[in-house]
């Protein structure tokens, strides 16, 4: 596992801090450490928040001391990876691009000097790694946007962005899971209801999973939306095994030719 340093973040949290860069390999180390710590079931650990280069471990100092926790984290970092034998999850999000669903698709196309069709094609290409969730419930910070699609935010933010809007802001792309004001360039819309407050797992994805955008037509959008409203749409979640030598590749071991893939 990559090297880390420990910094207290107040009297009830500790930051496990890895190298200062956005890197799929670091993200995997964070996911792996979290998984190992979970499996150790240490009394007093109250929660985890993974981010780009940190895993913040929340704890109750009455139940576990800082020194104990340091040792537990060290042990967890030594434990053989459980994740490497596990599959990674790719959550497929259907998106209808352009027109009323994506009023800023033309902005992005003009900025990228591409046709709107080419923008959509390139946006649907990658498996985007979810580095972390934050800003809003279910809001994903994704890695892997085609650099040519990077477009600055709108000069004047919108007061209201609909839940399910898919957008680009600088080098980031993402989805608004709930309504919010925002300055993102909105290029499409998913018919999925991303936030399900009545479920134990209110979102389909976690940090460490991947998101893939699947383009759908206007007609397909309406059909999926109807199924979602009626409660019988099955979100397609693909699982793939992580390749042995994949640690340094851009998508942390998964490749687009689907090597070692096991679709479900």
């Amino acid at each position: 596992m990559d090297e880390y340093k420990l910094y207290p973040a107040g009297d009830c949290a500790i930051n496990v801090t890895f190298s200062n860069r956005v890197d799929p390999q670091i993200n995997r180390s964070i996911q792996q450490l979290q998984e190992n710590l979970r499996s150790m079931q240490q009394t007093g650990i109250t929660g985890f928040v993974p981010a780009f280069r940190t895993l913040t471990v929340f704890y109750d100092p009455i139940l576990v001391t800082f020194e104990q926790l340091k040792r537990v984290i060290h042990q967890a970092s030594l434990k053989a990876s459980t994740l490497q034998t596990q599959a990674i999850r790719i959550v497929h999000i259907p998106v209808c691009y352009g027109k009323d669903f994506g009023p800023d698709l033309k902005n992005v196309a003009n900025h990228a000097k591409l046709t709107p069709r080419e923008v959509v094609k390139r946006h649907c290409q990658p498996n985007y790694l979810i580095y972390m969730l934050g800003f809003l419930p279910g809001f994903v910070y994704l890695g892997g946007l085609d650099p040519q699609l990077a477009t600055p935010r709108l000069a004047t933010p919108r007061l209201k962005i609909e839940p399910g809007a898919v957008g680009i802001a600088g080098e980031q792309t993402g989805i608004y899971p709930i309504e919010s004001p925002g300055g993102w360039q909105i290029i499409g819309q998913t018919p999925l209801r991303l936030f399900q407050p009545d479920q134990d797992e209110p979102f389909y994805y976690h940090a460490g999973d991947y998101i893939h955008f699947d383009p759908v037509s206007d007609f397909e959008y309406q059909q999926i939306k109807k199924m979602v409203d009626e409660g019988h749409y099955q979100v397609y979640i693909e699982t793939r095994k992580v390749t042995e030598d994949g640690d340094s590749s851009d998508t942390a071991g998964i490749t687009d030719d689907g090597s070692g893939s096991g679709k479900n």
């Binding site: 930051n15 928040v49 940190t54």
Partner: protein
Amino acid sequence: MGIRVTQPGLLTTVQDLGRTKGLAQGFSPSGVMDQWSAIQGNLLVNNVENEAVLEYSILGPTVTFSTPAVIAVTGGVVNAKLNGTQIHENQAIEVNSEDVLEIGPLTQGRYGYLAVSGGLQVDSILASKATSLRYGLGGFKGRALKTGDFLATVEPKPVIAEPEKRKIAVSSHYTDQTVSIRVTEGPQFAQFEAETITAFTNQQFKISKNADRMGLRLEGQPLSVANVPEMLSEATVAGGIQVPKNGQPIVLMADRQTTGGYPVIGVVASVDLPTIAQLVPGQVVRFKMISLTQSQQALADQKAQLKQIKQTFDALNPKVSRKTATKISRLFR
């Protein structure tokens, strides 16, 4: 049966100790600003510590009870009246059907609490009844209370023996002009220059007008972040003191975002979070650096104090323990 809101007050919301299970998914914890006062309120009415209470700010609500209950008013100082007669804060009080409780304006402190025996019956989202106003989630319809709202409580009234003996001393820090707040080193502490650290602990900061449930913006001599490297966003913590580019610190509070990208110079000791939460704009704080060990010891001392209060109250209510009371109340949900 429950509580009818006849005058909502300012920013009256249903809150518990926060939606801590959803942090990794980006859910702001929300919850009460002053956990110490809210927990006291719950103990006074024989609830579990994490039960939902009403939190109000600046002006408390007026409510009518449609069923008998035991209540407690805690937190910021108010002139609360029950059917026109003034009642004491930090004291369990029996109310009957059609009784009117008028809480009125806060004369000291920023946030007050109304705890009701058996708790407030609203749906939990991710195991919490806390209201997140920013995205209209949780609590009562995801929003602050309005005139005419009706909040369900537990029926029948939980049995509480000798409520008049259930009282806790009122805090005295609300009127202090300068308040000392203990802090531990933040995760980016070592990245600040020595002069900045000195400037942080040697000066007084004023609570600005931009102080809300999300964070308290402070005003003082700007802290230099010129040589602090840019950082990637990471998890925020309650009481984290961020220093943005303008050098005016922000103390992150209950409605904070779960991740942030500003360097954190210090973190308010958990035991002092209720104190800083109760400060009003214009009041002044001075930060005192303490070690992690000292901060955690202070927290352990506070927990011991709570335990003692609980034991005193449990001795008053020998037949029905808090656990049993909760179990019984669940049967009626």
